[in-house]
Symmetry: C2
Subunit: 439 residues, 2 copies
């Protein structure tokens, strides 16, 4: 008697990302109660299970959903607002003044809704966010069905979200408490950057993060200028300062890391800290490039992030995987650096590890949450099919994503969002465009 | 009485790329007899013309078709055959042996057909090719409707196309003569690279190119190793050697140019030579990066190319525009380098100039050929719309191309090829995949 389950997916290929990146043909995947129940040969699956829904995907790869390890979802309404400018002018002359005028819970909600739609359609099933109003980001994530890691942001100057560090931390902890039992929402502490947070704030966050067992998500060494200014002001490089304050631990999720000395790489490796590489944003702002091949060789866990749409200008993990491989080779000066398989791990299991979610997501394995996507490898850009792994990283792009499941919920079907009113979303973005441009 | 014409297109935006990159709203474009007849306000267009077909494109940009200034279309059947390898091993251990086994007129025809389909769907209306059997490439281009600049390839060693330089040149000139009166096919001389062609061959090609007024399309300074080897063997850098042989002129279309000394940049500028930048291929092979910002500042005409699908692995000018801007900023260490508008020119009018086709294509202007595309800027990744030019380069991608016209022929409509049997094309690619992998 076949076993009744929620869904059975029959792709042509199934992509494993751990322990090795490998492709299998002729395997099916059974989903039930939001989890992966089994992965087995298709003929066995058809005999053993009686699924409520069955998905035939004969030209498709089934793979783990992509995880965007660094994002500012609310900033999506500033896409294209300030391009072709260096980081400092971009931030101080354009983005911060615009945010001061525009950022409200409504702005964050509408921006995050748009971000969630863009990410889901492109096969991202989980994102780690750092922005104001993390309570709103969490609500929007719940409404969209996306898995989210919400940053309890903190910095020394007032914003529409909080007046001072006490309030940032208190309001952050409220969000943490509210979602403590939520299956899809977790948190990080998110001190904005070493240059915008004091020793006291960082030490306090370190203690709280230890108590609550929560990662610390922070920008670190984004540009050479930032490091020079820190050395001039404090006598220490930012990473040295984080180390002195006890923040360089397995809980650290350091974003960007474009400038690292060999000793710093060694220290990050010894401490088992995590780095998030944002290649598109770094290139667009000419911030330098994370030495990814060197970090990987040292054994450091490197994940990928889009950064915000104001600097990227897309929330597209396919572009990040491609650029991680391409820029990684360029920077290392060898074409064997950051092979395609590694880029796939950086966008899936490595990110899950950094975010303390690898028991739950980041790969396809029985018992893990059903966070999975189907990618259709057909059309003239996708043939001949000589190497599925190369094809995914070097030739594919987000428009090939046909299906997305998060915790078993079928959020994208036949390349369309199942829960989102796209017309309302585009109307909202149009109305914000006017406000952004006239502000 | 309205004037009868072939077609009238009513986009939301029209993109000019010369004399400046600018976006206009509310303009329509009239096509007749393969040419752009007029560009005028939509209300005037509706009054003045009675078109056979009318195209309402209310969320679209109408822009010049993209021009791929360097491609090896036949190699598309080797997509994904040899990835994550450095140029020399990639070429000598994988690609050349595979080509020796596989390259026949049939291989080139089927690879070029696939390339033409991929390029057309992605909004490329013209490509400049360098490969064996240019007669076959030209035939496939005619069949597909694409505008093509076919390379009369020459090198010192035998290939399935020719035994020796005499035969390369004689067979190339036959192709040149055959298409002399063709509206869509032109030619270049294509000596493969300085390291694969002798002084005598290069001097002979220089004389022929002068006589026939045809550009000289060649790889130059692709890697540092290639330059070192040339210096060891000849005492000269390849560009010095080309200069000595009289090839550094406005007819030169030099591809890659990842390693250039200031004096070489100056010389290229003085000579009004053209450079084709292939950012994705250079990054994937870790060949270094063309100093695009420095070339542009010196006044050099820089175009973009995909290179072949064996090193890229996509024939996608949207990816090249994005990377030209992103890598250009990274290399120049300033985010103001290679702005979005410049990337658009590199993929259109600059390429037309390099290929001696700027009187015919490369921009939308009355009298030029109707080589145009529509790009639909909607969906969650394309809003809010704060800056159309940024959006095209940093957020858009080839899947947004809805329509492609080449010389007025509507070759892509509603995102589908109008002349190609896609099933037959995919069947052919599948059958080649088996032959490639078992060869």
């Amino acid at each position: 008697m076949p076993e009744r389950i929620d869904a059975l997916i029959h792709p042509r290929w199934t992509l494993a990302v751990e322990p090795r990146v490998e492709v299998a043909e002729g395997m099916s995947v059974a989903l039930d109660k939001g989890r992966i129940l089994a992965m087995l040969p298709t003929a066995d699956a058809r005999r053993r299970f009686s699924p409520d829904t069955s998905h035939e995907r004969p030209a498709h790869v089934l793979m783990p959903g992509l995880i965007n390890a660094h994002c500012h979802a609310g900033m999506t309404l500033l896409r294209g607002y300030a391009d072709d400018l260096p980081l400092k002018a971009w931030l101080t002359e354009r983005i911060w003044p615009a945010e001061a005028r525009l950022v409200t819970p409504e702005f964050v909600a509408d921006g995050s809704r748009l971000a969630a739609a863009e990410m889901l359609l492109g096969g991202t099933t989980c994102f780690s966010d750092m922005y104001y109003f993390p309570d709103v980001v969490a609500e929007v994530a719940r409404e969209s069905g996306l898995r989210a890691v919400v940053g309890m942001i903190a910095l020394e100057f007032p914003t529409p979200w909080a007046r001072d560090v006490d309030e940032y931390i208190a309001k952050g902890l409220e969000v943490h408490d509210r979602y403590r039992a939520d299956a899809l929402i977790t948190t990080t502490f998110a001190p904005h950057a070493p240059y915008s947070t004091s020793d006291g704030t960082l030490a306090r966050i370190r203690r709280l993060a230890d108590e609550l067992d929560v990662p610390i998500h922070t920008h670190v060494h984004e540009t050479a200028a930032e490091i020079e200014e820190a050395v001039a002001a404090t006598g220490q490089r930012p990473l040295e300062r984080l180390e002195r304050l006890g923040l360089v631990t397995p809980a650290l999720v350091g974003v960007h890391a474009t400038e690292l000395k060999p000793r710093e790489i060694e220290k990050l490796a010894q401490a088992r800290a995590n780095i998030v590489h944002c290649p598109r944003s770094n290139m667009k702002l000419a911030s330098g490039a994370c030495p990814v091949a060197a970090l990987l060789e040292a054994g450091i866990n490197v994940a990928l992030g889009t950064d915000g749409a104001a600097s990227n200008n897309r929330l597209d993990m396919w572009s990040e995987m491609q650029l991680a491989a391409l820029l990684g080779k360029h920077v290392a000066r060898t074409a064997t650096a950051v092979p395609a398989a590694t880029a796939l791990q950086m966008a899936t299991i490595n990110a899950a590890r950094a975010l303390n979610l690898d028991a739950e997501t980041g790969s396809l394995a029985p018992g893990k949450a059903a966070d999975a996507i189907c990618v259709e490898l057909s059309g003239p850009g996708q043939v001949p099919m000589l190497n599925v792994i190369s094809q995914l990283v070097y030739s594919a792009s987000r428009d090939l994503v046909t299906d997305v499941w998060v915790a078993g919920q079928h959020l994208v079907a036949d390349r369309a969002l199942t829960r989102v009113d796209m017309d309302a979303l585009e109307r909202s973005a149009r109305s914000w465009a006017e406000r952004v441009m006239s502000a």
